[in-house]
């Protein structure tokens, strides 16, 4: 493992890509993510956003927590850990997963990579080693943190396939969504997965930290040919909401960080019922989720479009204009592509149903003066933005 013995000199560690991102940063807006220093915006937010939607954006993914899970019982262990039936996952494939505590409340979500019969990688937003180890008692598995041993770049956007190909990574044409391939970028061994958090065509490229800068340079060497932008977390927040992806710990409280009774959320309550398989056999939280499912659902994290173009921000949601308070907006953006206010809102259901009329009451400023406004909200079950080119194999060549 890579141990940074000088870590105490830095409040936040540098990722293996830091030198390049730092050199390109004009805004110097840095923030912390899992002890690493990452950019909120590298240069210009709108340019980074549009690179994802119409060009190619490159984001440093290294701080994402990565755990290697191997051993004889790796499958059985994961099967008990995760709510989803992973019996159909195969080596070379990735799937989206969620895991709960005994009470059936969401601890975190993530992606599960299967490399071999008994060899998996679990990626998550939050630190999970304690939970993963605690869940391991009674299983023959090895669980190791490899967050710091694997550098990763998200390369996302309609031209990402062309960019990576031009950068020297051959063999991507037949890689399907959620597929994994061991390839080379010139002479650098890389693992590429067709995964992402943007809702667009995109890849995640995994590389040894020692080769990180060479990978970065190979990609940015074709910047003259394509619009390639380094991307920060702010643009990511915009595109992930457009794609309808949730972020545990931000859109809802995760089980392990919840103190107040009832402030945590079950998978059903955050719209992840589709990742729960109650028939697959036992998993942590199953009993609680069966009991919950037998009752009308109490609330759900709901995708809503808010009428108008005023910035909604954090707002309360009412059943009808001036009606009963039924919820609150958890995250919201103005979508430049869709020209709409998009939001995820935690909304109380009435007798198991979403209230018919939803209105947001919010405060906004005009030339520094506060005003109050009401706007009607329209719930949506599908992601806000699903471009066709996202899932085409082979992807369109630019």
């Amino acid at each position: 493992m890579n141990i940074n013995h000088d870590h105490f000199r830095q409040a936040l560690q540098r990722t293996p890509f830091h030198d390049r991102i730092s050199a390109m940063s004009t805004t110097e807006t840095w923030t912390g993510w899992n002890t690493y220093k990452v950019a909120r915006v590298v240069d210009k937010l709108s340019a980074e956003y549009f690179a994802v939607r119409s060009g190619c954006a490159v984001m440093d993914l290294t701080p994402m927590e990565k755990y290697r899970i191997t051993g004889k019982d790796a499958y059985a262990y994961l099967d008990r850990l995760l709510t989803r039936d992973i019996s159909t996952l195969k080596p070379g494939r990735v799937t989206y997963v969620v895991w709960c505590d005994d009470a059936g409340k969401v601890i975190d979500d993530g992606t599960l990579f299967q490399f071999g019969e008994q060899d998996y990688r679990l990626c998550s937003q939050h630190h999970q080693l304690d939970w993963l180890l605690m869940s391991a008692s009674g299983y023959d598995v090895q669980i190791e943190t490899e967050t710091h041993d694997v550098a990763a770049l998200a390369v996302q956007g309609p031209t990402s396939y062309s960019v990576l190909t031009a950068a020297g990574i051959g063999g991507l044409e037949q890689l399907k969504p959620f597929g994994i391939a061991d390839l080379h970028c010139g002479d650098i061994p890389v693992t590429v997965s067709r995964t992402g958090y943007t809702g667009d065509l995109g890849y995640e490229v995994w590389v040894e930290p020692a080769n990180a800068l060479r990978l970065w340079d190979a990609i940015f060497a074709v910047q003259g040919q394509y619009d390639i932008q380094p991307m920060g977390l702010d643009a990511l927040e915009m595109v992930r909401i457009e794609a309808g992806f949730i972020m545990p710990g931000f859109d809802f409280n995760t089980a392990e960080s919840t103190i107040r009774n009832g402030y945590d959320r079950s998978p059903y309550e955050v719209g992840l019922g589709w990742v729960v398989n109650l028939d697959k056999g036992h998993f942590t939280g199953r009993k609680a989720l069966i009991a919950e499912k037998a009752q009308p659902i109490k609330r759900r994290l709901t995708k809503i479009v808010v009428d108008g173009n005023k910035p909604v921000g954090e707002a309360f949601i009412y059943a009808g204009k001036g009606g009963k308070l039924v919820g609150e907006i958890k995250c919201t953006i103005w979508s430049p592509v869709l020209k709409a206010n998009l939001a995820l809102a935690d909304i109380d259901y009435v007798n198991g149903h979403l209230p018919k009329k939803l209105w947001a009451r919010f405060d906004y400023q005009r030339e520094l003066k506060w005003r109050t406004a009401w706007a009607e909200c329209h719930a949506q079950s599908k992601p806000f933005y699903v471009p066709e080119h996202k899932s085409a194999t082979p992807p369109k060549r630019f």
Partner: protein, 519 residues
């Protein structure tokens, strides 16, 4: 097996038998499976060679809970609580103390201690009585409290506040969670007396007199004493196990010996059968485990069928056994300096001071045995001469504090240590060594192997505060039911814990019936 089983009980220890008898009386079809060749678990009699019989591992006991004695008609089936015995605190110089229920005597004992003893006993028996709603009932839930639990709490509150009175209540609240060491030092002068009481407070637990919570373990012991005096299990038809077996079988329960359960089978979160060592599957509508919670969940059910936090809590249950058993077959009557033969029928205790006990305990913490262990000695053949050939005797000794995990392992040390214990006994009884015909020595490891109790713990888990009441054996299974539907617990690992009270078995049976029986 064509018979339809409403209930399978795993283990015919006394709690399993109590539970079986109650459920059979309620009309359920009960099959009780016992892996050894006799019922009774840790209270089942033992033999050494052809000629010597010994009481079970638990050779001292208090009478079974009176409600159980009545409900299960144990008197009709021959149950007679044993004759009351005193404790004689042995002194190497021959100045032994005789400690009874309400009085203490012996040479060199200060008058102030004699008076303090009577007062102390009265006060602590009052405390134990005030807490009895808590000890006798299913532990109350603290969230979504059902009515029965409210009654328990109300009775407890009334007893503590109104029964004891304000000043006494304050005293109970002051001492409830502290150690016996401080309390005894406040009350008495005499080291022998303090040692004897402290030894009882920590008996069977990995605790020394200075361990917090040892007043509570002492109160739990006193609670058993409310039902009658301590006596010796000296074999015969009057024994609890015998009467319980009769009572259960009379009500229709079937007890099947030499039948080892390997697995509790669970389908879709519900227990439906057990699998035996030979692979046979026996179905039942309800499975009740008298095995200890760590075996039940860790081995019989297995972590994959449990939620992660619950499985983790199971693996964290504290309960390393610290008591070894030495059974001696003797060719004659051992002589103890300063004691008459009549006095030898009592319980003899080597725990001359609290410091002595604490030192013995310290060794066990570090994986060592003490050269000066605490010894709890009885000669059952003085109560029942049929246990040994004419003129011969049997002696049983509980040896505390003996580590489950001995540094370097037990294999080469078992005999060495047994001899050390025998030499120690020789200090009080010079002719003992020459009388020994045969011996049996069971370390906590042997207790684990023979009684299927993880780490050889008498009580299936330490009786520490964090494993008592609504946290016994653990959060999520503290009311005899478990996260697995139709799987219940009825053993000493449950509230109120070990001892031959039968209360866990009775409470579990009530819980099964409350939750719909075999419907």
């Amino acid at each position: 097996m064509t018979e339809r089983n409403d209930v399978i009980i795993i283990g015919a220890g006394h709690n399993g038998l109590v539970c079986a008898a109650y459920l059979a009386r309620a009309g359920l079809n009960v099959l009780c499976l016992e892996s050894s060749s006799s019922a009774g678990g840790m209270s089942a009699p033992r033999t050494l060679g052809d000629d010597y019989q010994f009481p079970g591992l638990a050779h001292l006991s208090y009478p079974v809970a009176s409600a159980i004695r009545r409900d299960l008609k144990l008197d009709k089936f021959g149950y007679i609580p044993g004759k009351a015995i005193d404790t004689i605190a042995l002194d190497a110089g021959g100045n032994h103390l005789t400690i009874g229920a309400n009085s203490v005597s012996g040479s060199g004992l200060a008058e102030s201690d004699e008076a303090a003893y009577a007062e102390f006993r009265k006060q602590y028996l009052d405390f134990a009585k005030a807490l009895s709603p808590l000890f006798e009932n299913k532990p109350p839930r603290l969230k979504n409290i059902p009515f029965a639990d409210k009654t328990t709490l109300a009775k407890l509150g009334w007893n503590v506040r109104m029964g004891l009175g304000r000043e006494t209540m304050y005293e109970l609240l002051r001492v409830a969670a502290i150690n016996i060491y401080d309390v005894l030092n406040e009350t008495f002068e005499d080291d022998r007396l303090k040692g004897a009481i402290a030894a009882d407070a920590v008996m069977g637990s990995a605790m020394g007199p200075r361990t917090p919570g040892t007043v509570l373990t002492w109160l739990q012991r006193l609670h058993s004493e409310l039902g009658g005096p301590m006596s010796l299990q000296s074999g015969g038809r009057s024994q609890l196990v015998h009467a319980l077996t009769q009572s259960a079988e009379d009500a229709g329960a079937r007890i099947q010996l030499n039948t080892h359960v390997e697995k509790i089978l669970v389908d879709n979160g519900k227990a439906f059968a057990v699998e035996l060592a030979d692979g046979e599957m026996l179905k039942a509508k309800i499975v009740i485990s008298n095995a200890d919670p760590r075996s039940t969940f860790g081995k019989l059910v297995g972590a994959p069928l449990l939620d992660a936090m619950f499985a983790n809590r199971v693996s964290q249950i504290r309960g390393a056994g610290v008591v070894a058993k030495l059974n001696l077959a003797l060719s004659g009557m051992p002589e103890f300096e300063g004691l008459t033969e009549a006095q030898l029928a009592n319980r003899l205790l080597v725990a001359p001071s609290m410091k002595y006990i604490e030192h013995a305990f310290n060794h066990s913490k570090y994986g060592e045995y003490s050269e000066h262990p605490v010894l709890d000695i009885a000669i059952p053949s003085l109560h029942n001469s049929s246990l040994a050939p004419d003129g011969h005797h049997v002696m049983c000794v509980n040896v505390s504090f003996v580590p489950y995990d001995l540094e370097g392992g037990w294999e080469d040390e078992e005999t060495t240590f047994a001899y050390k214990v025998i030499s120690q006994l020789g200090q009080y009884s010079p002719n003992l060594k020459s009388l020994i015909v045969d011996h049996e020595f069971l370390t906590p490891r042997d207790v684990e192997t023979q009684f299927h109790a993880v780490q050889g713990h008498w009580h299936h888990g330490e009786l520490s505060i964090h494993q008592s009441f609504m946290m016994r054996p653990l959060h999520g299974a503290a009311q005899y039911d478990t996260p697995i539907d139709k799987l219940f617990l009825c053993g000493a690992g449950c509230h109120p814990g070990g001892g031959l009270t039968g209360l866990p078995g009775r409470n579990a049976a009530k819980r099964v019936l409350e939750s719909g029986g075999a419907k």
